[in-house]
Every structure is written in C-alpha cells, then in structure tokens.
C-alpha cells in the first residue's frame, strides 16, 4: 500500500494534493486535483501494482463555505490486492465540472448521473448525462446541496393528483412524444437497415414483472431488444437528504425501508458504519446474534427472490412454497422483535432483544427441515427442461464486464468472481465459522440461480454453527454515551436518566471523521459512507445500494435477448426499488 502511495506521489506530483491514512478504520483516502483526476484514475485502474478494477461508488459532498464548494468522492476496490481506496476531488460552484470516468469503469455511468442529478456536478465526456432519480422535468435545482431545504420547494404541490370526473373524457392520446424525448431511448446506431422506425415499448412502472416501480423503455426489433433504458426514481424518497436532518439513532428505521425485503441487512450495514465511525466494540453475543439474524434475512431475501423469479417464468407453485418457508422465518422475527417486515431490530452498539430458548428451538427445527425444502424447489426447477431452457445462456455477463460495471453479490459471483465482503473483510461472526462462497462459471441466469440456492444452504450452515458457538453475555455494548440505558435504570438511577435525556434530546456526537463501511447484503455490497462533522447528525450520508449499481449493467445484459428474457433479467438481478431509488 505504501509503495503505491509513493508511486502515486512521484508519478503525479501535482495531482496528489494530500494523503490521509486512517489506520484505526483501515481506510486510505487521497485528495487529487480535479483536472488531473482522469490521469490518476487511469493509472489506478491500469497499473498492476494498483489494479483498482472494481468501482464501488461515486458520491459527492457540499461544503458551501469553502471556495471549492463541491467534493466528488470515488470509492474503488482492487480485487487482486483486496484493498479499497477513496479518491476525492474538489470543484468550484462557478464551474462544477470534472472529467467522467465512464471510459474506465462502465459502472460509473449511473453513479455519475446520480451525482449530477442530486448535486449538480457536470461530468465532461459522459455519454448520457441526464437526471436519473428526480423527474426529467424537475426544475428546482439539485436537492442534495446544503442550501436546498429538506422539505423541498413545493414542486410536488403543483401536480394534480385527483382526476376530474366532471370533465368529458378526451378522445385519443394527448400529444405525441417529441423526437427529443424519443432520442434518449434509441440505440446509438439508430434503426437498422430494414426498419424505417424504431418501436419503443414502455415496460413499467405499472407492470407485473418489473419488481416495483421501475420503468424500462425497450427499443425493439421484432421481439428482440435493441436497447433497454432503465428509468428509475419513482420510489425516490431522498433518504440521504432526510438523514442529514436526523440523529444517528433516528436513521435506523429509515434504513428498514431501503431494501424492504431484507431490512435486517440494511440495519446491519448502517449500524456497522456508525460503529466504525465511533470505533465502538460490540459484545460477542451481539455479534453472533447479528450474524444469525443477518443470515436468516439472507434466506428470507433469497426465498423471496426465488419465488418471484420462478413466478416470472411461470412456475407458480414455487412462489407459494418459498413463501411458506419465508413465513416461518418471519414468525421468528416477530417473536424476536415484534415486527415482520420493517424490523428495526439493530441498535448502535448491539441489538434490541435477546434470543429466547424457544426461539432457538424453533430456529433449529427450521434449519433441520430447510435443506429438504431447497430440494423440493430444485426438483421443480432444476430438473425441469423448460426452466433450464429459460435460464441457461440468458443475460450472460463476463467476469471482466461484471467487475467493470461494479456488480457485487450473487450477480458478480455467478460470473466467477469470488468476491464476498464477508470473506474479504470478515465482520460479525463470519470469521469464526466455516462456510464457502459459491461461485458460478458462465455468468448466466442459471448460474445466478444456482449461486443463490447454494447461498441459502451456506446461510443455514452459518446459522447452525453460530447457534452452537454463541456465548452468553450482554447484547449491547457498555457505552453509556452512545447506547441508551435500560428503562429500569432510567427510572432509578440519576446518571442513567441524564444519559437517557441527552441521548434522546440531542443524540451522541461522533468524532469528526469519515468512513465507508461495506456489508454483504443478500443483493450485493451495501455500503454506507458517512461524513461526520462532529455534530449529532451526519453531515452527509451516502448509501451505496447494490440494486442501483446493478441497474447500470441492465442495458448491457439485455441487448440481443427477447422480450420474454427481459423478465428473467429483472428477476435475476433481484432488484428492490426501495433500495435502488432510496
């Protein structure tokens, strides 16, 4: 790592402005001069000693008082060297322009569009710089800027939501869509020789198989896809902006609503990021409990995925069978914390409630039966030639492309890349139990299916071992400044009452720092990047959601396949729009 820094300093003496190594959090961050960004980025990607082949995230921060107001922050990961790096570059308000890195990492396309949309930074050389989360015709500026009010500027109130029934119905369509509007959805090469006009078909947002309010505009040649343009943001709620106005503890329920299928995983990712920021140690029992519930959630998430994917392809029964098993786990969640979907179970410093013997018993019973259920699903699908025919060699993505697009999770692993945050940077109890990372070969839909099926088996293996190893002890950290005291103590102990009061009126104050923390969610790498200015609220919180990054590769994966395959591709991504749009 140090040698890399030296090389960078000697090769780009003017570009590297400063280097900051956060040894306690194990993070390396580099300030570079904005005009030299492309050079440095190219070097980081191409040079074998750096080899930052995987793009993790691009985000931005706003410092209105500084002369160079905006900061663009890149997170790269080197899979060969297993290191992460953070590159930061500043641009001014008058000319918020920086070179685009889409030429190096294709995954930067959507990430840069998001930065442009929410912060107003322009990326020169970007092929398609449009708004991505906010509506196309949104004219109220860029919402993540600090001078933009949290409650918005009233754009929404200009809409007419309620149809007027007293007016006569108009005949036919309102107006034709302009050539300008069509253009973005048409492939660069234009209609091929034997067509005079391209056929554009809207799929979504109100479509049974788009897995939420996602719109994809398909350019079709017969039934073949020439170009697929995802149009997102229908579920954009501005969680990142909201977080800037909330104390750290208050943000946890908001994370529930990101990937609402797997709220435990989101909770986990968030509290881990905050704990990393605080450098807070967690009691061992809590670590085990967290690992167990996270893996339970992974099974729930994969069951949900399997059911919906099978249903999309027409295998209806699998859907109900997976929901039967999912129900058992949801019952266990209910027993554990009273909720079934938006669980809000994690606390900064530990978890909300302890496992009861009854719960452990029921979970063990589930684990015993579960492998049999997986076999049932496989009998219906894997042994069925229609299923194999529908999934094999569909939506193939090579390992190289998958890395370049920044894909993570089962989608990346199916292409043959054994990247799993749980192995790379073990957290929780993952380092203490035995398990394997299933890796596919072809990167097609079938491999992604297989990887997820295998992961469910591994998850039940992890849970079983954790249950056996789980030590006794407290379930929250002993840190009165951060962890609220139990209610009993609040009522009887003066000091606890003071802590309680301070925590719930002000919140705790983390050190002035910044940190990126990645967690392996069922859908891929879910990362939280938090910039703290020492106040009880995050100065900037960026959520690196796997679904959003995965959508960047959608067009690449869909081109050349049939309309029927689009459905398979939606399913194989396992996207959840709550997480994608945030």
């Amino acid at each position: 790592m140090h040698s890399l820094l030296e090389t960078l300093k000697t090769r780009f003496p003017e570009a590297v402005l400063s280097v900051k190594e956060d040894t306690e959090r194990g993070e390396l961050s580099l300030r570079v001069a904005a005009p030299c960004l492309l050079e440095v980025a190219t070097f980081l990607h191409d040079d074998p000693s750096a080899a930052f082949d995987h793009i993790t995230d691009i985000c931005s921060a706003d410092y209105p008082d500084d002369t160079e107001r905006f900061e663009v922050i890149y997170h790269f990961l080197s899979l060969p060297h297993r290191t992460r790096i953070r590159i930061k570059a500043r641009v001014t308000e008058d000319d918020p322009t920086i070179a685009s890195v889409t030429g190096i990492w294709k995954g930067a396309n959507f990430l840069e569009r998001e930065v442009y949309d929410l912060m107003g930074i322009r990326f020169s050389g970007h092929p398609d710089l449009r708004r991505i989360l906010m509506p196309e015709d949104y004219d109220e500026g860029h919402p993540l800027r600090k001078d933009f009010p949290t409650e918005g500027r009233g754009w929404r109130s200009r809409f007419e939501f309620i149809p007027r029934l007293d007016e006569p119905a108009a005949e036919g369509l309102d107006e034709d869509i302009s050539e300008e509007q069509r253009k973005v959805f048409v492939s660069e090469s234009g209609p091929s020789s034997h067509r005079t006009e391209e056929l554009l078909l809207n799929m979504g947002p109100q479509h049974p198989a788009t897995h939420g309010v996602l719109r994809v505009v398909l350019e079709l040649d017969g039934e073949r896809i020439v170009k697929a343009t995802p149009d997102m943001g229908y579920l954009h709620r501005g969680v990142e902006k909201l977080a800037e106005g909330l104390a750290y503890m208050q943000i946890i329920p908001h994370t529930d609503r990101l990937d609402y299928i797997c709220s435990m995983s989101n909770n986990y990712a968030y509290v881990r990021a905050v704990e990393k920021l605080l450098k807070l140690e967690i009691p061992e029992r809590a670590e085990y409990i967290r690992t167990i519930v996270a893996e339970m959630q992974r099974i729930v998430g994969h069951l949900f995925w399997l059911g919906t994917q099978a249903l999309d392809i027409g295998a209806m029964t699998v859907f109900f069978w997976t929901f039967r098993e999912r129900e058992v786990l949801l019952d266990l969640f209910e027993k554990l914390c009273g909720a079934r979907l938006t669980l809000n179970y994690f606390r900064i410093g530990g978890v909300d409630s302890d496992f009861t013997p009854d719960l452990v018993q029921r979970l063990t019973a589930f684990l015993e039966a579960f492998p049999g259920h997986i076999k049932e699903y496989e009998e219906l699908l894997q042994t069925n030639r229609i299923w194999v025919g529908r999934t094999k060699n569909v939506a193939v993505i090579s390992a190289e492309d998958a890395i370049n697009f920044g894909l993570t999770g089962p989608v990346l692993r199916a292409s043959g890349v054994a990247y799993d945050v749980r192995k790379l940077e073990p957290y929780g109890a993952y380092g203490k139990v035995e398990w394997e990372v299933p890796v596919g070969k072809n990167g097609d839909t079938y491999d992604r299916y297989w990887v997820r099926m295998e992961e469910m088996r591994q998850s039940s293996r992890i849970i079983a071992q954790c249950l056996a190893q789980m030590p006794e002890g407290p379930i929250v950290a002993d840190a009165p400044q951060i962890v609220p005291p139990p209610k009993v103590k609040v009522m009887r102990d003066m000091e606890s009452l003071i802590h309680h009061f301070i925590l719930f009126t002000h919140g705790f104050k983390p050190p002035k720092a910044e940190t990126y923390c990645a967690t392996e969610a069922p859908k891929g790498e879910l990362g939280f990047f938090i910039i703290s200015d020492g106040s009880p609220r995050p100065y900037r919180m960026k959520i690196r959601s796997p679904s959003f990054v995965h959508m960047g590769a959608f067009d690449h994966m869909a081109r050349g396949y049939l309309i029927s395959d689009i459905i398979t591709i939606f399913g194989t991504y396992d996207i959840v729009m709550g997480e994608c749009d945030r």
């Binding site: 108009a170 039934e223 027409g314 209806m316 859907f319 109900f320 219906l380 529908r390």
Partner: protein, 353 residues
Amino acid sequence: MAEVGLKLAFSVAQIAVVMGIVLLTVMFLTLAERKVLGWMQDRMGPMEVGPYGVLQPIADGLKLFFKEDIVPAGANKFLFTLAPILALVPALIGFAVVPFGPNRTVELFGYQFQPFVISDINIGILYILAFTSIGAYGIILGGWASNSKYSLLGGLRSAAQVISYELNVGLAIVGVLLLAGSLSLVKITEAQAGGFWHWYIFAFPFPQVFAFVVYVISAVAETNRVPFDLPEAESELVAGFFTEYSGMRFAFFFLAEYANMILVSCIAAALFLGGWNAPYPGTLLPENLAWVEGVVWFAVKVYFFLFLFFWLRATLPRLRYDQLMRFGWKVMLPIALGNILVTAIAAYFFPKG
C-alpha cells in the same frame, strides 16, 4: 311443418341442456382450478363466499356482469365488441357433435332423437377443427382492436401459436381416423367398444400413444394454457390480448378459454380413450340403465384431462416464444407425421376384422 317445429323444440331443449352444463362446468372449473392449485401449493384457495368458497364462481360472475366495461379511447368499438363473441361462440358450438353418452335413439311424443348428442353429423371432427380455428380470429381481433401494444403483441403471438399447434392437432388425429374409418365422433367412439384394449390409445395394430401425446400437448397449447400461456403471460405482456378488456367482454374470453378446455378434453376422451365406453367389456348396470354408466365414464375421462390442465399449471414454468414455436414445428410435427406413416402401413398389413 309440425315435424320441423318438433325438431326445433327438441333441438332447443337439447342445446339448452348442453350449454347449461357447459357453462356450469366452466363456473365449477374456475373454482376447481383455484382449489386444486391451492391444495398443490399448500394453501386453501377461495374460502370466503359460501361454505368452502363454493359460491365463489357466482360472485365472480356477478361482479364481472355488473362491472364497468371500458372501451379504450383508440379502440375500434365494433371489432372490440365482436372479438369476445367470436372467441366464445366457436368454443360453445363445438359441443354440438360431442357424444356425451351411448348412441341410442329414444322416441318421445312420436319423435325419434338421440339424447346424448345434439347432432351426429358425419364430418364431426372436421366441424370442430373448423370452428375452433375461428376462435383464433377472436383473439387476434381483440388484440388488434384494443390499440395497445401489449394487446397487439399478445394477439399476434396467440394467433401464430394457435395455428401452429392446430396443424399438429390435425395431424395427430389422422391416425385415429385411419383406424376408425369415419369422421363422426359417434362412430369413432362406437368403434372403441369392448374394453380398454380397444381404445385407440392402446389399439391394435398400432397404438396411437404418440398421436395421443401430440394431441394433448397441442391441445394445451391451443387453449393457451401453461406451459404455453405466452399470449397472456402476465409477467411479460401483462394480460396479452385481453389487457384492455374488462367486465363482461373479459368474462367472455375467460368463458371461451375454459369452454375450449372442456371441448378439447371431450375430443381427447372420444378419440383416444373410448369416449363413453367403460374400460371393461359390456356394462355393469342393467340394460335400461347402461347409459348412466356411459355418461359417468365419459365425465370421468373428461375430468381427468381437466385435472391434467390444472396439474400442468401448478408444475411447469412457461416456455419462451422461440422455444414454443421450435417445439411445435420441429418436434411435434415430425412425430405426428411419422405416426401417420407407421399407422397406415400397420393398418394395411393388419386390416380390421
């Protein structure tokens, strides 16, 4: 003249009974399908309307009857209305030649008639094939008239699929015709009397097993059922050709689909499984009650096929369109053709009697 009036009265009565039974069966089928699927999927199916949900089809029917029937703004109103009728009528009138029970003549008020078949015309099977083809017009017209891309794609897909598999149906039954030497469903069924080894699926000199398999698969495809339900694949084309339909017009497409299911099941039972004939020679009940036995056997066979439809739906995923067409043209068609050749040669060397 009086004779014509009598004939009209008898025909109307017979048709009313048959149509009533068919429509009732359709109603019952919608419930049965949901119940069977429910049980296969570890759930209970409809449970709210009436005891165990048995009144659910009535509730559904009433709901559709009193529901707003939306005609999209860009639609061709006449064709949009014509399409569901065009889909339903052929599905219903196919039953005119289906023998539901033993072939016998009863005299009532001095008029002789066959109680278990509306009309025993000598080209019965051809008549059914001809009319079911008209159903494809209903589908494609409905898709086109809606002025919605999803409807259009669904309609086109459906039309191409129906005609492709229609061809296979046509080829599959040639073997049976060869052995029976008639196009009348009544005569074909009669030729299979005397035990299950006389049924054409097992019959000497060449069992029509392959033809039977081709016929059943093609029949599933023709009725747009899983795994060939691509025209209405809800995950791709939303609802296919009836995306824009609602209320009673929608109900007609629905009725047509289920009536077609019953019809192809009846034909399969009559052609391959001996129709009303019991799997053993003769009858168990006394002569004057033998017809009960025949009708029951026929119903059992038909319901076996209907159950098969549900079973397939619970088990199989959906084919992709290119796979479906390839399967129809490159697998089903050669098998059906080969079956004709072998059957003809076998029938030549081992003639009947």
